[in-house]
Structures are given as C-alpha cells and as structure tokens.
Subunit: 233 residues, 2 copies
C-alpha cells in the first residue's frame, strides 16, 4: 500500500523528525511504499490563490472554488499543487505529522490543505463525507504538544483535544471520505524524559504496524442526516 506523510517541522533533529523517521522505517519494514512531503525542505508555498493555476477562467474576478473546479477538469493546476495532488490520490494512508500550533495545523500545512484539497478533484457533486472520493482509505494525525494531557481534557483549560482536532479529523479527512484513525499525540515532549520519548516512539511504531486493521473514529454516515443536513433524531 502507498503511504503519504505530510510533515511540517523546520528542525530535522526535532521530535517531529524522529516521529517521521519512525513512521518511514516501520511502514517500509511492513511492506508499504512511503512518500514524505517535507514542507519546509520543499519550501512549500501555503498561500492559496491565483498562482495555483496555469490559467484563470476570469482574471478580473478571482473566485477560488470556480478556478479549482475548472482546473480539476482542464488539468491546469500549477506544478507544485498538481504534484501534491498526485501523491494524495495514490495514498492509501495519509498521515499529517506536525507540532500543534495555536490549536491547529502550522500555516505551512494548513495551506497544503487549502491548495491541494481542491473542489472538483477531491470533493464536490455529492462526493463528500461517507460518499467521499477517498472512502475506504485511511488518514491520521500525529502531533506533538506543548501542554500535557490534563490541560486538553474535557474540563481542561485549553479545551478537549478531540474537539480541537475536529476541524482536521472530521472537517478535512472525513470530509474527503477518509476513515480516520485515532490521533497519536506525544504530549509535552519538550518537558519529557528520554525514556518517555522513547516510549512515545515505541507506541507510535506499534500503532503504525496495525494501521490497516485498527478501529477508526466513528462519525455518522450521510444516511444519518436528513435533507437539511441535520442528524436525524
């Protein structure tokens, strides 16, 4: 199977770097083909806009969705966007590896989503959520935090981690149809002991050995919503 790791950290010696290296090693050992989009090394431009396209339908009034739809048909995405879309389309497992910044993705990774997850190519026309283009494929986040798990508990000061990850896990991955594996969180690594860090890497490796069979997060399917997109009671 093909795995795409999208990786956002500028320091190769960081713990995020160690997690990426662990994932590449374990996934290759277990027979998978692994690609890494190392966004800082690639100097990936995260700003979505006119430069995403080799031609514009309407140069005088820029509407991002209209241009993405057109580019999906005409194959007129700029080379940097098209290259990432090809990686995404061939991935059976998608992993986002990042440090949690401001309770979400670092901008360089948020912009990878803004530009690569184009309407037309990756969703649209009823192809979303449980009917999404990527259904039966899997995705997960693997992240590091500054704070420990208690501050991210349901009654914690920073808010519950599952809620903070909802825009990513539900709004990005499940929106495209992916089955979503539970997040792997390395809590407060800067204040962790060497033993704790090694334990995180062992646990992450174990998680990745079982990614094809692990239970995924339950999100309701489209059939559980009525015609106004409300969950049926």
């Amino acid at each position: 199977m093909n795995v795409l790791i999208v990786y956002a950290h500028e320091e190769p010696k960081s713990f995020n770097g160690a997690m990426r290296d662990t994932a590449v090693r374990v996934l290759r050992e277990t027979g998978h083909t692994v690609e890494v989009s190392d966004l800082y090394v690639m100097r990936f431009n995260p700003v979505g806009g006119k430069h995403d396209f080799t031609t514009l339908t309407d140069p005088d009034y820029f509407k991002y969705g209209v241009e993405q739809t057109k580019a999906s048909e005409a194959k007129t995405f700029a080379a940097d966007v098209a290259a990432e879309q090809e990686k995404l389309l061939r991935a059976d497992l998608l992993i986002f590896q990042f440090p949690l910044w401001w309770f979400g993705l670092p901008a360089i990774m948020k912009g990878w989503v803004d530009r690569v997850f184009a309407v037309g190519l990756t969703y649209g026309g009823g192809r979303w959520y449980s009917n999404g283009v990527f259904k039966r494929k899997r995705a997960m986040v693997s992240l590091t935090t500054g704070g420990g798990p208690t501050i991210y508990s349901p009654t914690g000061l920073n808010g519950e981690m599952d809620s903070l990850l909802f825009p990513i896990q539900h709004g990005m991955f499940y929106f495209l149809g992916f089955d979503v594996l539970p997040p792997f969180v390395a809590w407060s690594v800067a204040r962790s002991s060497q033993e704790q860090r090694e334990e995180y890497l062992r646990a992450y490796a174990e998680r990745l050995r079982n990614w094809r069979t692990s239970e995924t997060i339950h999100f309701p399917s489209l059939e559980e919503y009525d015609e106004t997109m409300q969950l049926k009671s």
Copy 2:
C-alpha cells in the same frame, strides 16, 4: 480607540472586501483609528521559522519558542513580524476578516497568528487567558461561509460553528487575554441575493457601532480552574 483589521482575501471585489470596507468606514465614522493588514496585498509570508528572527540563539537546533522568547527580550524579530506585532499591541479592537477555508483560517492568516503571537511578547509566564497581555481589549471574527447556517447547527453535518471557531476565539483571542465579541457570520454569500448581502452589511455595520459595549462571549476565568488546569466542579 485603535482598531486592527487583519484581512485575507485575494479578490478586492469579494464580499469579504465589502465587509472590510464597511468596517473601515463605520469605525472611522465613529471616531476610531483603523489599520488594515491586507495580507494578500502585503504578500505576507505565513511560514513561521528561522527567518522570523534577525539572529538565532542556536543556529544548529531550531526551537521556535526559544527563539521567540529571546527575540521578545532582544527585539530581534524580523521586520515583517515586528511591524505586525506593533499593530497588534496598539489595537484596542482586533478583527479577523476571512472566508472560512477548511473550517478555519486561510493559511495566510493562520501564519499571521503563528508568527505574530510570539511567546514572550504576547503571552507567557502566567500571562494568558483572563490574565493575558490583552485583557480589557476586544477581538472578533468576521467571516463568510460556503454552507448555510443549518449545516453548522449543533446537529449539522459540518459541526457546530461555535465549536469550529473555538480554536480561534478561545485558543487565539482569549488565550492572549482578549474579551471576545460574538462572531459575525455571512452565510453562504455566493448563493445569497443582493438584498441579503446588503442586509449582512447593514447588520455588520450595526454590530461595529456597538463594539465597545456589546456583550462578549463567556469563557471561564483562570480562577475557575484548579492547579491542574481543570475546571472546578
């Protein structure tokens, strides 16, 4: 009072542009000084990293928080970051004007937060949430969506808007100490009539005439959490 509008849309004729223009006009009419950071026009670089600093404490091992802390003391932020920090520090009201992309900020605005909201200068050492640097100042989001309000209701397919905005309203604004005004949402503007759009602009203008006295969103204060950062029951 000073107002800073951080604005992220590439098309000046967009509805986001009309909302920005409405805000600038109304706030000036009511006696305020308004600055706009027009991120696309500024070609703002949203990628947080080594280039945020004129010197590095440790060029061989990049730790973003360490470098931000040092730069806050030594005033060694790069010019583009320092200019935005000055605008932020003098703002009595901060407004984010943006189209909701993937249930959050467009990358160009997420990166404005990543780079400008630096530890040391804007938080740290017990200065956060109700004890934050920006307490008694106000902040709000003003956004456009693709979907209508029902798909963002508590039982809606996309998830509840308040939950989706939590990482911004609580995790960014309140984290720095801001009192947070309710969000202004222009729903599904691409499919709205001219009358509906004009009504949105009228309602937004009215909201902005009352920003100093309007009720803000209730978030618990630090005193309501115990020493492990759990809400006291």
